[in-house]
Symmetry: C2
Subunit: 413 residues, 2 copies
């Protein structure tokens, strides 16, 4: 098998992902034996993309620590007039049942007949993640249980926010390595909401396809830049503490949960691409080819903010993106970024409508996104080339345990 198992295990051996070791697809029902651990030899290498499956239940919701998939849908909904706590709880119950079936590659049992869009395909690493926005709590009489962490994000000078594409009562994040599997989930979940909640905004994103690079690599964004090198790693001692709300925290129903900051960040690609390579690298503070910091080394070499070049000037400019975002520059603030690129064609002004659906996960936005963004707002050389067009903050409760539905501890706690 040569290098295959090693690479497979490197890519797929993350704890959350298991493989269906025997997959059979018939009339859209994917059935398979679940192994306790990642199988070392999938039934066929070509179906690895399809057969990879992420478990729905656990301490945390899926779609946070798993590698970002090739396709993503972000969906925000507002409760319909007349829908309150009871209707919302019933919706979360339906969504839980549907998401669990979809992530297993099964056709969901539902009052609705299935669209059939995902027939033939395996689970394709599908994840579905649910969150609550600030406004949700007033509309459901649950204001007393609203986390203080859901306070509105402060305005930033670089914001050009579109209210219609920001915020929302409810949030659904869908990711899958197959476009039809992702779209199938989007339709199924949206239809389950009929009569209870209406689409407020919806965005589509993408990442590199599994296997497009010779070995797993840090993602690139549409500026061509390696993006995510400094992300906290699951092996970091303080990873869980940074990303997840601890048990006994405030509010208690958020134990095991996380806060998602979502920003639609348009890239001014026409402007950016006119900047010569050296100028782009100075803006970021990293080499474009391999992501190595301009202070030397390779991609994973820690950035040396004190290093000076032969001319006596700092190797990493004072306003370089990598300096301003460095945890050392932000009192140790760090968040887990798990973003998707987006491209919605060209705008009326002829510029590409493209950029980053930035999704950042943290135990507390006031110690994650907010201080970093404040710093960026004041002195990031990258600001000239981006526009924040939409913004939202959601409380994403912990994972559903056996017999639970997502958010149950909020509704019934």
């Amino acid at each position: 098998m040569g290098v295959l198992p090693a690479l497979l295990s490197e890519r797929l051996g993350v704890p959350q992902v298991t493989l269906l070791s025997e997959v059979s697809v018939e009339d859209g029902q994917v059935t398979g034996r679940r192994d306790g651990a990642a199988a070392t030899e999938p039934p066929t290498a070509l179906s690895t993309v399809g057969s990879s499956r992420v478990p729905f239940r656990g301490d945390h919701q899926p779609g946070i620590t798993e590698p970002a998939q090739a396709h993503g849908h972000l969906l925000a909904l507002d409760l319909a007039p007349g829908a309150g706590r009871k209707e919302a709880a019933a919706l979360l119950r339906r969504w839980t049942r549907t998401a669990e079936a979809l992530m297993a590659g099964e056709t969901p049992a539902s009052r609705l007949h299935d669209t059939g869009i995902a027939l033939d395909a395996g689970p394709s690493s599908l994840t579905v993640t649910f969150g609550f926005g600030r406004t949700f709590f007033d509309r459901t009489g649950l204001a007393a249980r609203r986390p203080s962490a859901l306070a509105p994000l402060p305005p930033f000078s670089a914001d050009e926010l579109d209210a219609g594409r920001s915020d929302g009562d409810l949030w659904v994040q869908i990711g899958a390595d197959d476009a039809l599997v992702a779209f199938h989930a989007l339709r199924a979940l949206q239809r389950e909401a009929d009569g209870t909640a209406r689409v407020r905004w919806q965005m589509n994103g993408f990442n590199r396809s599994p296997g497009a690079t010779a070995a797993p690599r840090t993602a690139r964004n549409l500026m061509g830049q390696v993006d995510g090198t400094n992300n906290p790693k699951e092996t970091d001692e303080d990873f869980r503490q940074r990303v997840f709300v601890p048990a006994g925290g405030d509010p208690e129903w958020m134990a095991g949960g996380s806060y998602a900051v979502v920003r639609r960040i348009r890239m001014l690609l026409d402007d950016w691409e006119r900047v010569p390579l050296e100028g782009q690298e100075k803006v970021i503070g990293r080499r474009k080819s391999d992501g190595a910091p301009l202070s030397g080394g390779s991609e994973t070499t820690p950035v040396d903010l004190d290093k000076r070049g032969p001319d006596g000037n700092p190797a990493i400019a004072a306003d370089a993106h990598v300096r301003v975002t460095a945890p050392a520059s932000n009192g140790g603030a760090a968040m887990l970024r798990r973003s998707f690129s987006y491209h919605d064609g060209f705008r009326d002004d002829g510029a590409p409508d493209a950029g980053l659906l930035f999704v950042a996960w943290q135990a507390d936005p006031m110690r994650g996104f907010v201080p970093v963004q404040r710093k960026l707002d004041r002195g990031d050389a990258l600001s000239r080339f981006i526009r924040h067009e939409a913004s939202a903050l959601f409380a994403v409760p912990g994972g559903a345990r056996k017999g639970e539905y997502v958010g149950q501890r909020l509704f019934e706690g």
Copy 2:
């Protein structure tokens, strides 16, 4: 290696696709040894998606007979004021050089620095295809060489065409199995057109990811229907005759070329999904689960239009899509459909903006798309669930031979 090589060769052993048997990616330059035939054992199974490469040069342009990729961009441009035959020829020269390099996974040599978006990735089955619209010939003083096959398509009663997203002087079709590779090509080719042509419209589409199904399957569309079963096969005796303009045809510069009909077909998914499964199957004339015709058999069983059910009624309804499109119902007309699904979020009216970027290839639209569409227009049960929102027809010249640029026989013939 078990079943791996057999499946690989089933999927990748089409004549146009070869594998780079040794791929090395460094600073965005992918270098590799090209084998004459498909390698039986790629360097790593996980990079098959990335390492697959389609040759640029040949009798026909790429992107016609190869399997449709996971990501597609369709781009139409109009010549800028003042740009004529000379400028257009120069653009095709630049585009040819760039497309050839991109499809080989190389960074194109260009007056522009590369965006770097595709760094790390292999060619990922990238194809780039160029075409000329009806209006191109007037604007370049080449009206005498305009193929008569480029006559405007007749209006169809189901059309709700948006002129701004229809037609165009120039057309570029991009497909790749990696989203960033596809976007990289889109930006590179668009930038090469700066000053010569401006974007008229641009659409993004997708198909199933390679490996999402346990074995290669006919594609499904966003209605959940198996779509493409009756496509002509390369092994059919009359395949080339149906799809490609023969040598000695009219005009001579189109030898080896083909005509592409492009239609943006929105699906009224909210309406469609309300129809029970049995009703949907009656509309199409095929079973949803496996695509088998309602006259019996499996997906590939020929449709029996005369078969009657136990109730004495035709098994395939008089207005079933599969009956109306059957070559037997259209004097043998057939075209090669190679479409992408699209999904651009939700419309202002709350309906999904989703459907099919229908791309059909034929030697002569008057014997391919037009008669079939006329028939559909009069009596296709599917019409109630779709809207044709944009339409275009392009002359796609033959492939560039060694030393040639695409379209050279038009400009210099």
